[in-house]
Subunit: 397 residues, 2 copies
């Protein structure tokens, strides 16, 4: 029996591009929502040109846009707007991530769409939100990470702060948008009422600062960078090994004792300076040197085996090259293969939302540019063949 | 008129502790779900003892647990399990984040709860998932970041990789869990059917690697650390200023020309080595030195004004001390004040899920330990006063 999809029947008109919006609509599409992605004619989503590119196809685009349909539309032309409005009537959800004000200028903002589909759920994602003094600031992931507080807290105390490598503020904002959208869907299922949703990258980053804000507001201290260490426990760090780096995290005496025994130095804890967690924290530098002279002698695999055996938390630093062959990634179906007419079979991350009865099904490759234009215009909006030819001729689609 | 809550009526039995689960249930509670938090007697959630602590109260706990009710229960005692099961019948959703196998040993796993509440939605959050070879590995945020691929990609090319400061893998996993739970609620609203949900930190981290996985699978390259730079554009970096650091992000010729003009060096682009984005990228080191000798002469505020005026993407590095006074944070209601009987008024991050008709209402302080035990036992499970006294006497609650 074909497996049910959790969000089957949910209709999403997707104006988003690049990362934050497309990550949101990817998770939704994987769970069975019907996502129609609007792209500019000829060029489409910017990420169709983002690295990695092979044979003219972008792995960036192919990852994030599986399970979606693509229609090309020139939203600047009157007829293009009309088609977009027609699709807004079809949709349950409209989602966009243009800079604030763009959809108003295009005549496709919430107030306009509400007139033709009064109970639409309309979500906007932006760098800083639709309101406030920073509303018009250019938003990139590097900007959001810096402005929201992550960058100042990442890196080593005595060197330059550093941005997180992947654009995590984009992805985090996208999944928060998904959560907000689904909450609105639940509310609408009960009451019949839609609404507007305003999601900001800076809000999202700021809400994910763990305890940094109360450190300031409760204690009047300004938290800062601590590298790979733990604010209260030691030894707890990323240690260099024979072949890589490894996380060892001991947060109490029992774990420290086990680690010391494995290292062949069971009496470390008898030394006053290493006898309690606070003492170890105060003497962290010397302690780390002791640990490091041991870790440097072994490979990650050896250390993992030794410490897993006694249940001391330990974790290898994994690169992507290692992860694509990782047995846990394989077990979790977190690497999926999609077949593409140009680049053939390529693997991408799967979907982490593991619902057991209605699991995600990321099994349709990303669309070619405008691949579903005709089908959508005909089957959903009931334009005739002649009208569609006219649109093509006038570069409306 | 009192404002509607999107998730009013949703009943959540929350066994989670520390960060990933509590962040999930915080977002749900802010939107109106009724969250009953089960805590161990005497000690409660570990974070009641996490920094920052003032007058015996933890800002860590107070932030994440607003809008929830607390019942203390000894789940190891037979009667404690019985009470938990009674609450599982009351609940629409059960959520837990113990290490895999714990809820089975307690006799409160999905299969058991399903027998008494067949359509329960039961979500488990763990480091690596309920399946696979890493199932039993100790899970911390530092572990998940390293194992999922973030740490190897964060930091500078020639120095040690670094963990993101705040425990972002915990928060990201929590919000992915919320999205999955709400998808299951939507499915249940349509079909009447509940299900099990299995969310893993490693899966979540791996899905948020932007284009790192296709860089490997499409191109057979292993992505690595690039510090604050952009893989294809320059100048794009975090530059030292007179008083801090600042992000300047120019990804095309127009923006570079504007930046050069502001710096009083409008002819930079006429130099062959700076004439195109690829050329600038190839000569990034020299170019950054030129930018840096300019940024070091000005404060962040001066640079932001100059570059905002010509719309060159620029962002100050914000510390938490600056953010609590930030006008955008204020405008977005991203700093809320909660009143506590011991520590008084304290500010915490607000909720980023800005639904406009049913906005989040994070306006109830976090519960004292077991604050709602009597009320819950009486009003939901209808135990008598005598029975409750008996539970207290035997340290079941």
């Amino acid at each position: 029996m074909k497996q049910q999809k959790a969000l089957e029947g949910l209709k999403i008109l997707d104006f988003t591009r690049v990362y934050s919006g497309p990550y949101c609509t990817m998770l939704l599409a994987d769970l069975g929502a019907e996502v129609i992605k609007i792209e500019a004619p000829k060029k489409g989503d910017d990420t169709r040109m983002f690295a990695p590119i092979r044979q003219g196809e972008s792995g960036y685009f192919l990852y994030l846009n599986r399970c979606k349909k693509s229609i090309t539309l020139d939203l600047k032309q009157k007829k293009g707007k009309e088609i977009a409005k027609g699709l807004s009537q079809w949709a349950d959800i409209v989602i966009e991530n243009f800079s604030p004000g763009t959809m108003e200028r295009l005549g496709l903002d919430y107030e306009t769409i509400k007139k033709i589909n009064p109970e639409i759920i309309y979500a906007s994602i932006s760098g800083f939100g639709q309101t406030g003094p920073y509303r018009n600031k250019a938003a990139y992931d590097a900007v959001a990470q810096a402005m929201g507080g992550w960058t100042a807290l990442t890196g080593f105390p005595d060197t330059t702060p550093v941005r997180i490598g992947p654009a995590i503020s984009d992805a985090a904002t996208g999944v928060h948008a998904m959560a907000a959208i689904l909450a609105a869907v639940i509310y609408k299922q009960k009451t019949g009422k839609g609404q507007y949703i305003d999601i900001a990258m800076m809000d999202t980053v700021f809400s994910m600062l763990e305890n940094a804000v109360p450190i300031k507001t409760l204690m009047n201290e300004n938290p800062s960078r601590i590298g790979n260490s733990n604010p209260s426990s030691a030894p707890y760090n990323l240690y260099p090994t024979k072949d890589s780096h490894i996380v060892i995290a001991t947060a109490n005496d029992v774990l420290f004792q086990k680690l010391s025994a494995v290292m062949g130095q069971p009496n470390l804890i008898l030394q006053e300076r290493f006898s309690t967690n606070p003492n170890r924290k105060a003497h962290e530098k010397e302690l780390n040197q002791i640990i490091e002279s041991w870790t440097r002698q072994h490979t990650n695999e050896e250390i993992e085996q030794m410490l897993d055996a006694v249940k001391v938390p330990v974790a290898s630093l994994k690169t992507v090259a290692q992860l694509v062959d990782d047995p846990q990634i394989a077990n979790r179906n977190m690497l999926i293969t999609l077949e593409h007419p140009v680049v053939g079979n390529v693997q991408f991350p799967g979907n982490p939302l593991k619902l057991q009865q209605t699991p995600p099904q990321p099994n349709q490759r990303a669309p070619l540019l405008g691949e579903h234009t005709d089908e959508i215009l005909k089957n959903i909006l009931h334009y005739s063949h002649e009208e569609i030819q006219h649109f093509k001729k006038n570069q409306i689609i």
